[in-house]
């Protein structure tokens, strides 16, 4: 008998769920292992960073995108290409600082938190903090030091999720990349 018929399995979609769930398992494991949320957030950021520095290779390889001219272009690439490619969403880029060195990514929906409901005893947990790490790591590989942090999170009742990115400086080629 063939069950295939009555099962609709969109492998791509499932995969994203696999990712989401695995990430969930990671976060809860960290929550078990660490004393408080702050440490968990740190750890998430660190892991994100490690992923970022590797992911950028894959990214540059698959999206043949050259050097960005300025931070604005970078922002667009991140939002329109990178997020689309890896999370299947396209956050909007807003709230540019007058100096043009700081902007926000607004995520209407964040696949990482699809099913998550935070228990009350995790008030200070930044569940998706991995993303910050990823962005930081990836950009560092293209000689951009940035500061990334969550300023709004639907998980904590805000009606959107907002990631704030601030450009710090260009990294000279010869500098060793990152702390890892």
């Amino acid at each position: 008998m063939s069950r295939q018929s009555n099962r609709t399995t969109d492998s791509k979609k499932m995969n994203s769920e696999l990712f989401t769930l695995t990430y969930g398992a990671l976060v809860t494991q960290l929550c078990k292992d660490y004393e408080n949320d702050e440490e968990v957030n740190k750890q998430l950021d660190k892991m994100g960073y490690n992923i970022g520095v590797r992911l950028i290779e894959d990214f540059l390889a698959r999206s043949n995108i050259g050097r960005c001219q300025d931070f604005r272009e970078t922002a667009d690439v991140i939002a329109k290409v990178a997020f689309k490619m890896y999370l299947g969403i396209t956050p909007s880029v807003t709230n540019w600082s007058p100096a043009g060195d700081e902007f926000s990514l607004i995520l209407e929906n964040n696949p990482l938190v699809d099913f998550v409901e935070l228990p009350d005893n995790h008030s200070t947990l930044i569940y998706s903090n991995l993303l910050c790490g990823v962005l930081r790591g990836a950009l560092e590989m293209v000689q951009m030091a940035v500061d990334v942090r969550f300023v709004q999170d639907t998980l904590r009742g805000d009606n959107v999720t907002e990631i704030r990115m601030k450009f710090i400086k260009r990294i000279e080629e010869n500098l060793p990349a990152g702390d890892e």
């Binding site: 929550c31 078990k32 004393e35 005893n121």
Partner: protein
């Protein structure tokens, strides 16, 4: 009669429930005194099985008065019916008004007084006829005759007289029967009754027609009641006619008609009652027709239509009683049908109807409690006693019969009537009814595998018993279901049941039950609110303090006082103030988990055991004693903890307490398991009441395993929030119910010193050093050493072990030396032994060195003697020390495949060492069998030779094989003996003799032995004398032809060709003078020899022993030297 009417308006009358059968009256039978008649009667009544026609017979006197038939009214003008169905009607047609009256009369055709008898019979018929005035009832006559009749037509007298009789009695021929009273009575009877049945059917047929005929006179406005009545009657008659199909049809129309009636306060009861009747009939018939779904559908419709028809609110209980009855009787019909072969299913079985019936009965009870105030006086005259004697119509109020108009009846009468009914209702044993229905339902649900439904109903039964104040029964049921809900983890339900149970326990002052229920209601499974819990806890403490607890809320006041006195009694009761409760299978308010701190302890370690206790109830719990019992009771004394003096041990809510016990194992328990058999916590004290809570094994309870499983998967953080952390820790605490006692760790070192591999046959020395690190003296140290048991069996034969002091290590030595006493070892003392092993075969072996001793130590201040032992094993490979190879060579060092008799040859031996260690070859020797040495004395050429590994030692012996008497071609050479030892081994260590048997050789005899004497070298241009010896080895004279071939390396002088004769055994010599011409290795001129006498032997074989070439030195001149150099 009276009671049935009043007590149970909801009851279904028997005349409704029975199966209607044609009613036939038999007259003229004297069943008392007339044996013949009696026999006939019996034949009618006896075994009326399904195969007999459905008739109910009655014997009536000939002059019986049948119910008068009212004069038929010609018109229904002005006629207002007083009710739907008369109470008497059904009974009348079942038992009073026959369909057929049969007159029995004894008369034979040839009776002498025929005339008289005929007229007498006619008058009897007449009497019956008159009393049935106006009815359609038929009359038949049966003549009881002594003679067997002739076949019809033959007896002319008979037929003629029969005709006459019919005329006399105005009977049709069909109604006259003859019953010959002979031996085949039953046969005749059956034929008769079939005939009667036909008559009956026609009768009921006409009845139906009659009733129908009224229809045209009726009008919709005033006669709705009659429509119903008539439909019912036709239905009923059809049943009597056994025409169930039509009966069903009529009943159905009747049913729909009755719901068209305008229902109001005064007639609603009547409508419901009749509706109930008709519904009953319909359902019954549907089941009978095997259409259960129709039955169910009809019943649903019925209940849906009626459940809102409550009628007088003050008598609401009546309605529920009625509803209950409806469900019950349907359940019974259903059940009956199943007994007759219908198959029911889980979701559609009688149980549901019994359950619903019970439900309505419960409502009835509650309504009764609300509506029927106690202490009212029963009114007189009794309004429920209809002066008219009996009730005319079903479902009417006795005090206002036939009152059909909408306008309200006499309010005063109404009041008293209602009051009377209410008072009567109070006398009804509601609980009994409910319980009976419930237990019916339980039986059904059991049958249709609905365990949960069953438990639910049992709970209801329990509660009902509680209301009926039968607490023992109540608890029996509740206890039974409790564990179901516990194992299925339905805490809400469990708590509900426990609460009821607790009330029972309180009301019957059953201390143990009371405590048990309290414990669980305080436990973590209980869903009670905090304040309820703290109330219960207070009560529990009171009971433990041997005081009377406060009553449970919602206990009915009436029984409280009784309870109080019961309690004070049992508190006063001295003695049985001690009770033990096995709490494991509950979810008690104290949790217990115990564990040994390790799955095994060494004998000299104190055994540590922890008991964790925890409570979830609102206030702290104090207890006075904690004991753990173990599989070996001797240890129990160490596992007791008692509160010292005043202050008790106590548990704070939500906090885990850990109690530690330690004790020392007994020496004899080494290798044994110690198991916890139980843990006990004692609440209260001797001077109040002692309650022992007992856990089997290492604790845990009905819920703990599941909790542990959940905890193991939980993602909750350890260490974040203290309260939660405790929780988690508790749940993930694992029990360790048993521990192993293992022997003390030895404090000695066993070192082995040896040089592997062992060499085959050598006496291999393993040096054993035992040193004690004990503080005390290691007493009677024993060594067991040798081949480790359990290896390849034949290793046992090929391994021999001795200890140093023993001398020889021959094949008698065993493979394993057990329990060699080595005395005592002081602290730090060292002991050395050499174990010698001789391995006769090669390959790996495991050797065991087992050193055992006993020592005194103190654990926890207790002196104990521990046996310790240390095992060392070592695997030793055994190799052959060297390979010996032997070859035979000619004196010219050419390899020989055979040796010639009496001609010297060389034996060369090579000893190739394969030992990693240098070997000392002390000596070697030959033991010759047939051979003899060619040299005066053989002595070893390799004495004291040291062979490094892979080195080879060779020696060479010159031998000769003397001529043999026997003529076998191969001969044994002999043996080669090598005595050797390791270079490293001490001088006094014994030598090892290795004997190599030398190979046999093939022997040949040669006819002629030719050999030559010549100098070891020649010199160019100097003469070189060569003397050839030719020996004749044959027994014949031999002619020998010799020629010397010319060679350009030599010139020579002497006979170039010669022919000579040699006598047997003698020798000839030929001298030649060779003159070398060139230097270097030169082939000598070839000597050709032939023996004409024995042509087989070729020149070649004869030439074998001659040298072929010789080294020629150049001349000793300078320029010649140069020339040589040049050359």
């Amino acid at each position: 009669m009276q009671l049935r009417m009043a007590g149970s308006l909801s009851e279904l009358p028997p005349e409704l429930c029975c199966r209607p059968m044609a009613f036939v009256a038999l007259t003229g039978l004297d069943v008392l005194y007339n044996a013949v008649h009696r026999a006939i009667w019996d034949a009618f009544c006896a075994n009326r099985r399904a195969d007999r026609v459905p008739i109910s017979f009655k014997v009536l006197p000939g002059d019986h008065e049948y119910p008068k038939c009212r004069t038929k009214r010609t018109s229904y003008e002005w006629y207002i019916p007083k009710g739907i169905l008369k109470t008497g009607w059904m009974n009348k047609h079942l038992n009073l008004v026959p369909a057929l009256v049969v007159l029995f009369y004894e008369l034979d055709w040839d009776d002498p007084q025929w005339k008289e008898k005929q007229s007498e019979c006619a008058t009897k018929v007449e009497i019956v006829r008159t009393s049935l005035q106006g009815r359609n009832t038929k009359v038949a006559v049966v003549l009881i005759q002594k003679k067997t009749p002739l076949p019809p037509g033959e007896d002319l007298v008979a037929s003629e007289r029969a005709q006459a009789l019919c005329n006399a009695c105005e009977l049709s021929g069909k109604s006259l029967f003859v019953l010959p009273h002979t031996d085949h009575l039953v046969g005749y009877i059956i034929r008769l009754e079939n005939a009667f049945y036909e008559h009956a059917q026609t009768y009921y047929y006409t009845e139906i027609r009659r009733v129908k005929s009224h229809k045209e006179f009726l009008n919709k406005t005033t006669h709705q009641l009659l429509f119903v009545r008539h439909q019912f009657k036709t239905g009923f008659f059809s049943e009597l006619k056994q025409d169930s199909q039509n009966a069903l049809k009529y009943y159905k129309t009747a049913y729909s008609l009755i719901h068209e009636l305008r229902a109001h306060e005064t007639n609603i009861l009547e409508i419901k009652t009749i509706a109930g009747f008709i519904n009953y009939k319909i359902c019954r018939l549907c089941f009978q027709h095997n259409t259960p779904l129709d039955a169910i559908a009809q019943f649903r419709k019925h209940t849906d239509l009626c459940k809102k028809k409550i009628g007088n609110a003050e008598l609401a209980f009546e309605h529920t009683a009625w509803m209950s009855k409806q469900f019950q009787s349907f359940g019974e019909l259903f059940d009956e049908a199943i007994k007759l072969g219908l198959t029911a299913i889980q979701t559609q079985n009688p149980g549901f109807y019994y359950q619903q019936a019970a439900c309505y009965s419960q409502d009835r009870k509650h309504l009764a409690q609300q509506l029927c105030q106690p202490g009212m006086i029963y009114p007189s005259p009794d309004p429920l006693d209809p002066q008219t004697g009996g009730l005319d119509f079903y479902g009417q109020r006795p005090w206002r019969q036939g009152h059909q108009s909408i306008d309200p009846p006499n309010t005063e009468k109404e009041k008293t009537g209602i009051l009377a009914l209410q008072i009567k209702e109070r006398e009804v044993p509601h609980s009994e009814l409910i319980i009976a229905l419930l237990s019916n339902a339980v039986a059904q649900f059991k049958k249709y595998k609905c365990p949960r439904m069953k438990s639910h109903l049992m709970v209801q039964m329990g509660e009902e018993y509680y209301h009926a104040k039968d607490y023992t029964k109540a608890l029996k049921l509740l206890d039974y279901v409790m564990c179901d809900y516990r194992t299925e983890r339905w805490w809400g339900l469990l708590t509900a049941i426990l609460t009821t149970a607790l009330r029972c326990a309180y009301l019957m002052a059953s201390v143990k039950d009371y405590i048990i229920y309290c414990m669980e209601l305080l436990g973590r499974a209980s869903t009670l609110k905090e304040e309820q819990k703290s109330r219960i806890e207070k009560n529990l403490n009171k009971v433990i303090m041997n005081e009377v607890p406060d009553p449970e809320p919602q206990c009915d006041q009436s029984s409280l006082n009784a309870a109080r006195s019961l309690w004070s009694d049992c508190m006063a009761l001295a003695g049985l103030n001690e009770l033990t409760i096995e709490v494991q299978d509950y979810i008690p308010f104290i949790q217990c988990k115990a564990r040994f701190c390790s799955p095994s302890f060494h004998l000299d370690q104190p055994i540590q055991l922890q008991v964790f206790l925890r409570t979830n109830c609102p206030h702290s719990v104090s207890f006075n004693k904690l004991t753990v019992s173990l599989s070996n009771q001797e240890y129990n004394q160490w596992c007791v903890m008692e509160s010292s003096g005043q202050e008790t041990m106590n548990l704070l809510p939500g906090k885990t307490k850990c109690y530690n016990f330690t004790f020392v194992a007994k020496t004899e328990d080494v290798g044994k398991k110690i198991e916890m058999t139980g843990v006990e916590v004692m609440l209260g004290s001797d001077h109040s009441r002692c309650v022992y809570l007992g856990w089997r094994g290492a604790g845990g309870d009905a819920a703990s395993t599941h909790e542990a499983l959940q905890a193991s998967r939980s993602s909750r953080r350890c260490g974040r929030n203290v309260e939660m952390q405790q929780e988690l820790e508790w749940d993930s605490l694992t029990l360790q119910q048993s521990t192993m006692i293992i022997s003390r760790v030895p404090k000695i070192s066993v070192h082995l010193n040896h040089q592997p591999p062992a060499l085959n046959n050598e006496i291999y020395c393993i040096q054993l050093t035992v040193q004690s690190q004990e503080e005390g003296v290691a007493k009677d140290v024993k060594l067991t050493t040798g081949l480790k048991p359990g290896q390849d069996a034949n290793l046992g034969q090929t391994t021999h072990v001795i200890l140093d002091d023993a001398k020889v290590c021959d094949d008698t030595a065993p493979a394993l030396l057990p329990d060699i006493l080595l005395g005592d070892l002081k602290s730090g003392e060292k002991l050395e032994k050499c174990v010698y092993v001789r391995c006769v075969s090669t390959g790996p072996r495991v050797f065991l060195f087992h050193v055992a001793y006993s020592i005194e130590t103190t654990v926890e201040g207790r002196q104990i003697i521990c046996k310790c032992h240390k095992d060392e094993t070592v695997t030793v490979e055994t190799l052959v020390p060297f390979e010996v190879s032997v070859k035979f060579l000619s004196t010219k060092f050419e390899p020989l495949d055979q040796v010639a008799v009496d001609i010297p040859f060389l034996l060369m031996t090579d000893i190739l060492s394969s030992s990693p260690w240098p070997l000392l070859l002390v000596s070697s020797s030959l033991q010759l069998a047939t051979m003899v040495s060619n040299t005066p004395k053989l002595q070893s050429q390799l004495q004291e030779v040291v062979l490094q590994s892979d080195e080879c030692a060779s020696e060479c012996f010159c031998l000769r094989c003397p001529p043999l008497t026997n003529t076998n071609t191969t001969v044994a050479t002999g043996q080669y003996l090598i005595s050797w030892k390791r270079k490293s081994s001490s001088t006094d260590s014994p030598l090892i003799q290795t004997t190599v048997t030398l190979p046999h050789v093939i022997l040949e005899s040669v006819p002629l032995y030719i050999h030559a004497d010549l100098p070891s070298f020649g010199r160019v241009r100097e003469s070189l004398p060569v003397r050839y010896h030719i020996e004749n080895r044959t027994t014949l004279v031999q002619d020998v032809e010799m020629t010397v071939e010319p060679s350009d390396a030599f010139m020579f002088s002497g006979l170039k060709q010669v022919r000579l004769r040699i006598l047997p055994g003698s020798e000839q010599q030929m001298l030649y003078n060779y003159y070398p011409l060139m230097a270097g290795y030169q082939t000598l001129p070839q000597l050709n020899i032939s023996l004409p006498r024995c042509p087989t032997t070729s020149a070649h074989t004869l030439r074998r022993f001659l040298p072929q070439c010789i080294f020629v030195k150049p001349q000793g001149r300078r320029l010649d030297d140069a020339s040589i150099a040049a050359a």
